[in-house]
Amino acid sequence: MNDSLQDYNQVDVLIVGAGPAGLAAAIAAKHRRPELTVVVIDKGAAPGSHALSGAVLEPGALVRLLDPVLPGWPESDEAKGVLLAQVEVDDVLWLPGHRQAWSLRLLLKAARLLGLGYGQMLHAGDYICSVSRLASWLGKVAREMGVEVLPGFAAADLLWDEAAGRAAGVRLVDQGRDREGQPQRNFLPGETIRADFILLAEGCDGLLSEKFIAKAGLQRAGEQLYSLGVKELIRVSDQQYAKFGMHRVVHAMGFPLWTPLSGPDVFGGGIMYPMGDNRIAVGIIAGLDYHYHDFNPQNALALFKEHHYVRQFIEGGTLVEAGAKMIPEGGWDAVPRCPESGSIGKGNVILLGDAAGLVNMLKIKGLHNAIESGLAAAAAMASALETPEQLAAAYTAELSRAGVEREMAAARNFRQCIARFGTTAGLLLAAGGRLLPRFKVGPDYTRMTNEAFPRRVPTPYDKDTFTALTRTGHREEEPCHLLIGDEALCRDRCLASFGGPCVTFCPAGVYEKIGGLPRPANPSNCLHCKTCQRKCPYDNIRWMVPEGGEGPNYSTM
């Protein structure tokens, strides 16, 4: 290879996002075609540092990914450290109040026997894993195969050439500007990376993915709906951990988010997963179509932790890590497609995993589809090697062949039913959701009202400690990466109608009222969850990418 620095800005395959989807694509592509230059970039400091999920993994896709490249992998210590244990008991609970917990397992088993969609909610046989650790491990596997995994490089834009129907490459973010945006003496303008194939695997609400969708004219049949997950990792006593067990996961509906008829109505629920080393992950997932102006996701988490069932396992424990992330829940109708061809991408650019929205809400899972999409992307590249602009079509066909389309289509309308009719009626209707026609649901941010969340916590949740435990950080002097479109909207309308909800919903406490006006006062606390971009009631916030290597540093989220 000619060793001119310029040459290194040209690659065969550029994957944006070192999560399960992107790394699966990289591994599979490198395995199929070792001669390809496969580069994965990620805005986090390391693969997995921005990855957060429950998680329970349906292992099929992972097995198909790794079996050919790492024979005997399930026996390796690393694999065992990632796939912690198989689920034996999936406790699906109904929490009517803060004391009682009723198991829904039998009900769901019955549903499964009847062939109702809800049966998929049971996860026995799947693996409990931390997605940050999974990504970290896949990153290592990829590197060992010769994939260039380069964290710390944040992409700012996709160079889409509409006339050619393909993208030339990706531009990285400018780095080294001062707070006012002026270049400092160490300013490094964003480099342009040219690539034949561009795989966008940025995760939920990806910056490039959304830009690409807009530039290339991709369309969603239904609105993308989001939920926000906030999660803590708690180190508990030997006794508590033994009592909980390594093979049990808890999915709880009801308290504190939803009490039919009389109480609050936020779609979502609580989770508890054992993560090894006496650590239990406890989290709340809340649909962002909630309508309470003062809803605070972590207050909900605090209430959940106070529930008698939960408390017995975590009382007296030590918080060791925390994190927050959005989940794309809109399902198959919200997957962006090329209006002409129906492909999930266009030309030589495709969308993978959460960036496409491949989360199955009946299973409450997307990880398996993320890996599956990576496999599909690799297969598509192999078939489109000489004709990169055929990538999107080939990829979409591969996804369909792999059964992703069938699975996703079965869960179609699930989330829309709830968004449209409320949790209680929605859940009932959603049983046959796939049979209902597609109906229109507005984006999450349009749902805000001046109603207050009816449940209060005795002491407000300590967001500063939460943020500290995410180990997030940004250079204090860089330009604020959260842009407010029109301050007048905040001042004249939002304050009066909703009191500045960004101050309460942002899990990292980024927004504060300064001089009475909600402002992104602490951008360096940002967890890159992008809830603000999707829940600001006036759609008045835009999340821009900060410098590379910043943001949270998750290790077991």
Binding site: M1, D3, L5, Q6, D7, Y8, N9, V39, I41, E148, L150, G152, F153, L172, Q175, G176, Q184, R185, N186, L188, E191, I193, R235, D277, T318, V320, E321, D462, D464, T465, R471, E476, E477, E547, G548, N553, S555
Partner: protein, 697 residues
């Protein structure tokens, strides 16, 4: 054309300590559980070198990164290559492991020679640029010792560089202020204390770096004259977790309460400082003890217990003097039925008991430091400590006083506890220059051979000490917080100085002893040791030592000495008000702190000073010389009042020696609240004027 050799070190990431990093049994930090990163100040050093190359317009200049460490340290060289370095050299060999600072500096210096010869075509016009210190060692000794080995100059604590009239001008921190200097000679070592324009990795260069071969050398390639554990002059005796904070962490609810606490702390503390240390002696020479076999002054409690047990058996056998310990007697003791020690260990202990001589002989010395005709507080604290050590050892205290026209300061030193003041006077010692000072001090040292030499861990002491230590072949321990005389009887070493210091960003403590070293040298943190009450009637002697120096012996040319804000920074105060980012603006900072310190000084009849957090300095609220903390100055006032300071660990280490810490912060979750004695939640602009009013009432 100048080239640049940048020293980069791979260190554990102490900024991100994972929850499993501490051993649950011992509480010690387990280093291998931390991620490895480039030492932050070395990253800044690379940026500094890159800046020098850029402003000099010298596109031909080469930047070569050099690292010594295990093979995985190649990572930090790739860090350099992805950010504008032209080449990377890794010095790696098992034989180089386990080294202290001189045994690290020596191989690095030899590697630098090899780089110059082989990679820079013998061009002797180069700068060695390094971070001032590493976060794991925190000693700041290696770069000055490299300069010493190479026989070249050293500009310590650099913060900025300019290129004027074809030459570089360096801004650097000195004790109590800053200077602008040029290097009188090249090559020169530059240590970077703070340069915040770190370089960003370029995508293309990162990829290229991954494909590049690094130059890799082993010990045989560079042929060091000292290396590894055997070439070291110190050894670590013990590593233990830092003591738990005994700060009260009590919340105050009103400004009136705050004023009350201030009043009480300043009054109470004032009386404590004057008390002479009484009670049991810190150390007694074995000859002074009731029995020669009394070993209650061992470095470790277990040793004391073991020797006490042995003493019982010796007493049972009627052995009272070391002369009685013949081979036959020893065998009898080892055969004693009630001996609970392994015979091998006991035999060693018996051998050790026959040692009559102390391990070191000579006086206990202190290197005095002065600014603008006045000795600094650290000097008096060291003299107090030296007096205590010397009394235990029954030897005189000597103080080295170097400068020009400084003889008048000698009586103060005698009154503070010195028996001899060694006067080094020369016009070229007027301003501190590492090269001239180290030469004069080393020459004096060679004549008198003291057993202990203490320096202040100040910007001056921390560059002078490593150079003198290297020149005289002595071990040196940096930034000690505790110095005691103890026996290591098992090794037959009597009356050695145990040097305890924090390491790894204050996460662990280590007790260190000198070895293969003619003298035990240490720098001590200002504010940690107690000064003794002045005794104007004390008698002492001034010993004038002739100094021969020429311009050739200087390394720096001083262009400008920054008078900080019209007057110099003085941290030797009873109360220091530290200001942070919470003060919001430069105006606030100046006005509120000035008013408060004035009132405090007037009301309590004390000296009151100003300090700042790193964040406040970065915001431009105040000059850098006011910075308190690990990269600034460590302080130890009776009361430290932190206003709008969040409480970063680096800052808190620097104020750990304070009597009472009081914090005011608007953020109820500010970490400082967990590390202080009293705190009040409130905004500085509100609290301070109220406090002033209350104090004035």
């Amino acid at each position: 054309m100048s080239n640049y050799i940048v020293l980069v070190k791979q260190v554990p990431d102490v900024a991100r300590i994972t929850d499993n990093a501490f051993d649950p049994e011992t509480g010690n930090l387990i280093r291998s559980r931390l991620a490895s990163v480039i030492n932050e100040l070395d990253a800044q050093a690379l940026a500094f070198a890159w800046r020098m190359k850029e402003i000099s317009g010298d596109t031909e200049a080469r930047i070569i990164c050099l690292s010594m460490g295990p093979p995985m340290a190649a990572e930090v060289l790739r860090y350099g290559l992805s950010r504008g370095a032209d080449a990377g050299v890794l010095l790696t060999d098992r034989a180089l492991g386990g080294a202290d600072t001189p045994a690290t500096a020596n191989p690095l210096a030899h590697a630098i020679k090899k780089i110059t010869a082989e990679m820079l075509a013998g061009n002797e016009d180069y700068f060695v640029v390094a971070g001032m210190q590493s976060v794991d060692g925190d000693t700041a000794q290696v770069p000055p010792q490299i300069a010493e080995e190479l026989g070249i100059g050293c500009i310590p604590y650099a913060t900025e560089v300019e290129f004027i009239d074809g030459g570089f001008r360096f801004h650097h921190i000195i004790s109590g202020g800053s200077q602008m200097v040029t290097a009188r000679r090249r090559p020169t070592v530059i240590t970077v204390a703070q340069y915040d324009y770190h370089l960003y990795a370029s995508f293309a260069a990162t990829r290229q770096a991954a494909h590049r071969e690094l130059v890799q050398w082993n010990a045989d390639d560079v042929k060091p004259t000292a290396m590894g554990g055997s070439g070291s002059k110190t050894r670590v005796i013990r590593v233990f977790p830092p003591p738990k904070t005994d700060r009260l962490g009590r919340q105050l609810h009103s400004v009136a309460e705050l004023a009350g606490v201030l009043r009480e702390a300043l009054n109470k503390q004032a009386s404590r400082g004057d008390e002479a240390p009484g009670g049991d002696p810190d150390y007694l020479l074995p000859a002074r003890r009731s029995s020669w076999f009394d070993r209650s002054f061992e470095g470790a409690t277990k040793e004391c217990d073991d020797f006490a047990h042995l003493a019982v058996i010796l007493a049972e056998q009627g052995i009272t003097e070391p002369e009685q310990l013949t081979e036959e007697v020893k065998e009898r003791v080892l055969a004693a039925k009630n001996l609970e020690l392994s015979p091998k260990v006991a035999a060693k202990m018996l051998d050790g008991l026959q040692q009559r001589e102390t391990a070191y002989q000579g006086e206990v010395w202190v290197m005095a430091e002065h600014e603008d005709g006045a000795l600094n507080a650290a000097t008096f604290e060291l003299v107090g400590k030296a007096r205590e050590l010397a009394d235990s050892l029954e030897v005189p205290v000597g103080v080295v006083l170097a400068g020009h026209g400084v003889r008048d300061l000698a009586p103060e030193l005698i009154a503070a506890g010195a028996d001899q003041v060694y006067l080094l006077e020369h016009p070229l010692l007027q301003e501190f220059d590492p090269l001239s000072y180290r030469k004069a001090v080393a020459e004096l040292f060679a004549v008198h051979q003291p057993q202990i030499l203490l320096y202040g861990a100040t910007p001056q002491g921390r560059v002078l000490a490593p150079m003198v230590a290297y020149r005289t072949g002595c071990g040196l321990t940096a930034d000690c917080t505790e110095l005691t005389i103890r026996d290591i009887s098992r090794l037959g070493q009597l009356a050695v100085m145990m040097q305890t210091r924090p390491a790894l960003g204050g996460n662990i403590m280590a007790t260190i002893c000198s070895r293969n070293s003619p003298c035990q040298m240490a720098t001590a943190r200002p504010g940690v040791m107690q000064r003794r009450p002045t005794d104007p009637d004390r008698r002492g002697e001034i010993v004038v030592h002739p100094v021969e120096l020429s311009e050739e012996d200087l390394g720096l040319e001083i262009i400008e000495r920054a008078a900080v804000g019209g007057h110099k920074v003085d941290f030797a105060c009873e109360v220091i008000v530290g200001g942070g980012k919470g003060l919001v603006s430069r105006d606030n900072f100046a006005r509120l702190l000035e008013e408060l310190t004035t009132v405090l000084a007037a009301k309590f009849q004390v000296k009151a000073g100003k300090g700042a957090s790193r964040a406040a300095v970065e915001q431009g609220f105040v000059e850098r010389a006011f910075q308190v903390g690990q990269t600034g100055t460590a302080v130890g006032p009776k009361v430290y009042l932190a206003v709008g300071i969040s409480g970063a660990i680096q800052h808190m280490i620097g104020v750990a020696a304070s009597g009472t810490i009081i914090a005011i912060n608007a953020d109820p979750a500010a970490p400082i609240f967990k590390q202080c004695d009293y705190y009040l939640v409130g905004r500085a602009e509100q609290v301070i004027p109220e406090l002033i009013d209350t104090l004035n009432q």
